[in-house]
């Protein structure tokens, strides 16, 4: 065989110069055993890396650390720790209410068991049975009080009645005791580190302990247990991430079955699957060796790598089978297939990788790591599938059954191909293109309502009907709390957070916020001060106000919970409870905070915030500043962090899409050197992107950390189909076939593989829809849609575009110009 003429059947590709192509092929195929040895060695190294991989639950990776809101939050993170790492366990009586001895006894046992769960901050624990839950009362003699469950509690009706009275006096209704008196809460603060081992507390282990020792042990016909809190949520999420492994197995098995049905060759089935698995091992191993860990997003990357690997493996097996069917031996058919496919394959994989890398523009840890993981994985496929598959096949060859199947397919002329072939006819093409324009216009119009952020209630990471969210619904319904909390931090100089003017501004700020649509209520030091001032005046409502007397103010906040001011009284958070965490609600609240700030706008030098009280008084006396400086800083709480994330997403959304398309456009243009070719490949993708957004709007999936990457992934992966099909179509056109014949021929070879891949990939990602983790399910829905629609676009829209845009004569002429010496194709 003359290497010189090998490219005669292929159009001009310029990623590698024509001269290097045979070189690469020669180097690989002339040293097959060496290549196999090197690849085996690498696989061993990466397999070792795989054993080092860790699951990471750090929360910082999920938030935009550079956003000013988050920066502000990080400054005060330690001051607000209480309340962040808390678990609430509600113990509900199924029949009757909590005023029942059996209930109270069970609660006592649960209380004791929770006490001994590893990681529980025992001193801070609170329930009806802990001594820090007290009632107080103003009597003629002054304050009176005691534990809610008295020391002499004996379970008699009288002492239960005593408990009832004490609860009413304790002010815990709506907090520790449900509004309907059917359940009570055990409030469990957590330590950051295990006190015995000094290791960071593992939320997954904690979550399991709570499930086993509390829920499973105590839940019965008469008692129900509900557990909520961020640590529990993280534990559940990590469990969900582990269950992803089963989906991976399921996807792999389904792929194997489909692949066998497609190729009828056991070798042709096992080799691409093995190669794709090796790609996954390389990807995970490489990441582990680079020091990355797996998180809830990057745990999905192996799926993608596996699916993409299969996609390319199938193209190669398909090529080898076709060439074998034409009578070539194992070695030659493998080399022919490699020769014909490695350039478009590499182009497609590079586009994928570059598309994924555009995700680096989004300043959120998990998305950036997803970008790196996916790019690394796709780069690995270039070696494991494009190189390994043909080399292995050159040894073992396609089985006779596989060759027969390929020959059958080559000759077959199924109705579906006939039907698809019509789209090269201009009359049909016009219809298809008009329909495309209508669909596109509809998509653009409809997706105007596309929202940013999470739209579901409860913990948006988990499904609405997940146990955690059901527990959370119970908490929200039974207690006077919202799970959506925005925290605004009021910074002052040291020891000044409780001065009258600061508190007065906070009071007005809270009332302003309470008037913002979407806000339920606000809570701060001011609330405590007013409540205590009222209590100190015998519960007289007339005294529910801030005092101007500093001594009274000081007294009133003496016993304020630690979460409402920091140790040196230089920061007091204002906690704003919201109806939901929809982007619109969050933005309205954020805007209202900014508006309030601007009304009190003043540029006081940063240095005053580090000063002590007396220095500030001096500065005021000297006229350097007019009053105690205070600034309101956004934002913390789940809603505050989400508001910041939404802003980052909204800003990155268009940028990222533009970058993905610019990258793919450049790579295609560089390879095919023809704008019409680029149009044929990219226009179907653009339609998919538009319709994808419309689908999100329709399904009520917002643009969020989970769905933003899908846009880049969808484009990156979808471009494969177009590249393979266009590449083959052009080659056949050059060989002299009419557009219709060339396209039919393309369908029989490449098209078959593309449609198979599209379905296989779609099935692979469709398994995600079963994930207990909501955002993984959302990603699954969108990716499935994009894979299928991209496939349709490549099979239907591409030929229609080609019939309008391509001129076979011109393509042939150009080919002649560049490769004058090369004889026309087949």
């Amino acid at each position: 065989m003359t290497q010189k003429h090998h490219y005669s059947t292929e159009p001009e590709h310029f990623i590698l110069s024509p001269e290097t192509e045979p070189l690469l092929e020669r180097v690989l195929f002339n040293n097959r055993s060496l290549v196999l040895m090197v690849l085996t060695l690498l696989t061993l190294v990466f397999a070792f890396g795989l054993t080092q991989i860790r699951l990471d639950s750090s929360i910082e990776k999920y938030i935009p650390l550079q956003h000013p809101y988050i920066q502000n939050y990080l400054v005060h993170k330690d001051d607000m720790k209480s309340g962040m790492a808390n678990i609430k366990i509600a113990v509900a009586a199924v029949e009757g209410d909590i005023f029942d001895d059996a209930y109270l006894q069970t609660l006592s046992k649960i209380n004791d068991d929770v006490f001994f769960v590893t990681g529980v901050d025992r001193s801070g624990m609170q329930s009806l049975w802990t001594p820090n839950t007290r009632w107080t009362e103003v009597t003629e003699e002054g304050f009176q009080g005691g534990p809610v469950i008295p020391a002499n509690y004996d379970g008699s009706p009288a002492s239960i009645e005593q408990v009832r009275q004490n609860i009413l006096k304790s002010g815990q209704v709506g907090r520790l005791v449900a509004n309907d008196f059917v359940s009570t809460v055990i409030d469990v603060p957590l330590l950051e580190r295990d006190p015995e081992t000094g290791e960071k507390l593992g939320y997954q282990a904690l979550s399991h302990q709570l499930e086993e020792r509390i829920r499973d042990h105590y839940q019965s016909d008469s008692i129900r247990i509900y557990i909520t809190g961020t640590p529990k949520k993280l534990g559940d999420l990590l469990d969900g991430a582990v269950s992803i492994g089963y989906f991976f197995l399921a996807a792999m098995l389904m792929t194997a079955v489909l692949l066998y049905l497609y190729s009828r060759c056991p070798k042709g089935t096992l080799v691409p699957i093995a190669a794709s698995l090796i790609a996954v091992v390389w990807q995970l191993g490489a990441l582990a060796l680079l020091g990355f860990s797996i998180d809830l997003y990057s745990v999905l990357v192996p799926f993608l790598v596996f699916a993409i690997g299969i996609s390319h493996g199938v193209q190669l097996i398909n090529g080898i089978a076709i060439h074998s069917g034409q009578g070539l031996d194992k070695m030659s058919s493998a080399r022919q297939a490699f020769r014909g496919l490695y350039v478009p394959g590499m182009l497609a994989l590079l586009s994928d990788a570059m598309g994924f890398l555009t995700l680096l523009f989004i300043d959120i840890g998990v998305i950036q790591e997803l970008a790196i993981a996916a790019s690394v994985g796709v780069a690995m496929i270039i070696v494991t599938n494009l190189v390994l598959v043909p080399i292995v096949m050159s040894y073992i060859g396609i089985s006779p059954a596989g060759i027969a199947q390929a020959q059958k397919a080559e000759k077959a002329n199924p109705v579906i191909w006939q039907w698809l072939g019509r789209f090269t006819d201009k009359r049909y093409a016009v219809t298809v293109l008009s329909l495309t324009v209508v669909l596109g216009a509809f998509g653009v119009y409809y997706s105007q309502d596309l929202e940013i952020g999470d739209l579901d209630k409860g913990a948006p990471e988990l499904r609405a009907d997940s146990r955690y969210n059901l527990d959370n619904d119970f908490m929200v319904a039974s207690y006077s709390t919202s799970s959506d909390v925005m925290v605004v931090m009021a910074e002052t100089p040291i020891e000044m957070c409780n001065t009258f003017k600061v508190m007065d501004v906070l009071d007005r700020f809270m009332w302003r916020m309470e008037n913002v649509p979407g806000v339920q209520s606000a809570l701060s030091l001011v609330t405590v001060s007013k409540l205590v001032t009222k209590a100190m005046n015998e519960g007289n409502l007339n005294w529910y106000a801030l005092s101007r007397n500093q001594t009274i103010l000081n007294t009133s906040i003496q016993r304020a919970p630690g979460g409402l001011l920091n140790a040196d009284c230089s920061m007091a958070p204002v906690i704003i409870y919201l109806n939901d965490h929809k982007a619109e609600t969050l933005q309205t609240v954020v805007d209202a905070v900014e508006a309030f700030k601007s009304e009190y706008d003043d540029q006081v030098d940063e240095m005053y915030f580090g000063m002590r009280a007396d220095a500030i008084q001096d500065a005021i006396a000297e006229g350097k500043i007019d009053a105690v400086p205070m600034r309101l800083q956004l934002a913390s709480g789940n809603a505050g962090i989400e508001a910041a994330t939404n802003q980052v997403i909204a800003d990155a959304q268009d940028t990222m899409l533009i970058f993905v398309y610019v990258v793919v456009f450049s790579l295609c243009l560089l390879t095919f050197r023809s704008l019409t070719a680029v149009a044929c490949i990219l226009l179907p993708l653009a339609l998919t992107s538009i319709l994808g957004q419309a689908l999100m709007t329709w399904l009520g999936i917002g643009v969020k950390v989970a769905t933003l990457p899908v846009i880049a992934l969808g484009v990156g992966i979808g471009v494969d189909y177009g590249i393979y099909i266009y590449n083959r179509l052009e080659a056949l056109l050059i060989s002299g076939l009419s557009l219709k014949d060339a396209y039919l021929e393309t369908l029989r070879s490449t098209g078959k593989a593309v449609s198979f891949t599209g379905v296989t990939l779609a099935i692979g990602v469709a398994t995600w829809m079963l994930s207990p983790i909501k955002f993984q399910a959302d990603m699954g829905i969108l990716l499935t849609f994009m894979f299928l629609w991209n496939m349709l676009g490549a099979l239907v829209l591409l030929p229609a575009l080609a019939s309008m845009l391509l001129n076979p004569e011109k393509i042939r002429e150009r080919h002649q110009r560049v490769h004058q010496s090369v004889p026309p194709a087949v």
Binding site: V138, K501, E514, G539, N540, Y544, D601, V604, V628, M630
Partner: protein, 386 residues
């Protein structure tokens, strides 16, 4: 472009650290803001101005209703301090008092209000008054010392009075130094010229010219300590009562010219008194109730199964009484039966007014409406003022 914009936005956010307080305006100078939720925030008193209902409360909110409490509008108020009480002499002339010694007046039935007195002025008046008391005490002691036969007991008493007066001066001067701090707790106008206002730490002011000028009358009260004066009531035959801390009951039968202390049935604080034809009902801490049919000379405790403090009440024409207080407590008392109700949510109720359907209550959660059986009925709403 978007990237650049986003970047600029972030830089701006991180550099412009806005600081509150430089433009801080005292709540006594800050007009009350209109709010679509004003009817759900703390309201502390409600009264009738002709056919109209007027309620006052937190953030300087004054609300009025011309349809029996179903819908409410917000009045123009020049301050945003917490208002504690309101009284109308007739359909047009009304006064509201509150924290920081504020006294507001309206001449158009509660639509627009202007300031008549605030705590800074009140503080100065209190300094003056306490200094006058001090000099009286000094004079009394001096005259006792000058008498030949030394009455040790009287001397000791006079010394205590002097000491108290000295503390009072110190307190008053301290108040001036830290700004106004003390709330007025009740106001009562006998006609459109003559009104009284009382408050914390024995603070008492009166006017005879519709509030054009206010003068203190603490010095005329027979107080041994400067107790909180919680409530003012006008009973049958125009008899006036002030009740307050530590069982304090003061009365005047000459329109407030002179006041006498009555013997109290109770040591704890008294928060309110209502009067029907010949019956006085006295409300104290933790649900203590007393009634008198001889103008306060003798009291009889009315024992009910209620431990919640009651603040206010209404005596109806048919002889029945309605009392309200902490923890959503509403007590319906008539000759046949006593009904004790705890409204859902158990939020404190500060005062009430009678309307055709039942009662309009004000308190911790703003306006609530109940029927004559004490059941909550449709919530009130707020509409924009014309």
């Amino acid at each position: 472009m978007r990237l650049i914009k986003a970047y600029c936005f972030m830089v701006t956010l991180s550099l412009v650290t806005t600081t509150a307080l430089a433009q801080w305006v005292d709540p006594l100078q800050t007009p009350a803001q209109t709010s679509a939720k004003a009817h759900t925030a703390l309201l502390l008193d409600i009264t009738q101005a002709g056919e109209r209902l007027v309620a006052v409360g937190a953030f300087g909110h004054i609300l009025y209703s011309d349809d029996q409490g179903a819908s409410w509008q917000q009045a123009q108020v020049p301050v945003s301090v917490t208002l504690t009480a309101v009284s109308f002499a007739d359909a047009r002339h009304g006064w509201a008092v509150g924290h920081d010694g504020i006294i507001l007046a309206t001449e158009d039935g509660g639509l627009n209000w202007r300031k008549q007195l605030d705590g800074f002025v009140a503080n100065d008046a209190m300094v003056e008054a306490s200094e006058r008391l001090l000099s009286q005490a000094e004079a009394a002691l001096a005259s006792l010392e000058e008498t030949d036969e030394r009455n040790e007991e009287a001397l000791e008493e006079a010394e205590i009075v002097l000491e108290t007066a000295m503390f009072a001066v110190e307190d008053a001067e301290y108040d001036v130094s830290i700004g106004s701090t003390k709330p007025l707790l009740d106001v009562l106008f006998l006609d459109d010229k003559h009104g009284l206002a009382v408050g914390a730490y024995g603070m008492a002011f009166e006017t005879h010219n519709g509030g054009d000028s206010w003068s203190e009358f603490t010095s005329r009260l027979p107080l041994t300590e400067r107790s909180h004066l919680n409530s003012l009531t006008q009973a049958a035959y125009g008899q006036l009562f002030i009740v307050g801390e530590m069982g304090l009951i003061l009365t005047s039968t000459d329109n407030g010219d002179s006041w006498q202390a009555l013997e109290s049935p109770y040591d704890g604080s008294l928060f309110g008194m209502i009067s029907s034809a010949n019956q006085l009902t006295l409300m104290g801490l933790r649900g203590h109730l007393f009634q008198s049919t001889d103008a306060g000379a003798h009291w009889r405790e009315l024992a009910l199964d209620n431990e919640q403090t009651l603040f206010q009440g209404l005596a109806m024409d048919n002889g029945s009484r309605v009392l309200v207080g902490n923890s959503g407590t509403v007590i319906l008392l008539d000759n046949q039966a006593t009904q004790i109700i705890n409204l859902a949510g158990r939020k404190g109720v500060a005062a009430l007014a009678a309307v055709e359907e039942g009662f309009v209550l004000v308190g911790e959660v703003g306006i609530q409406r109940i029927n004559r059986r004490g059941e909550l009925i449709s919530a009130a709403r707020i509409v924009e003022a014309q």
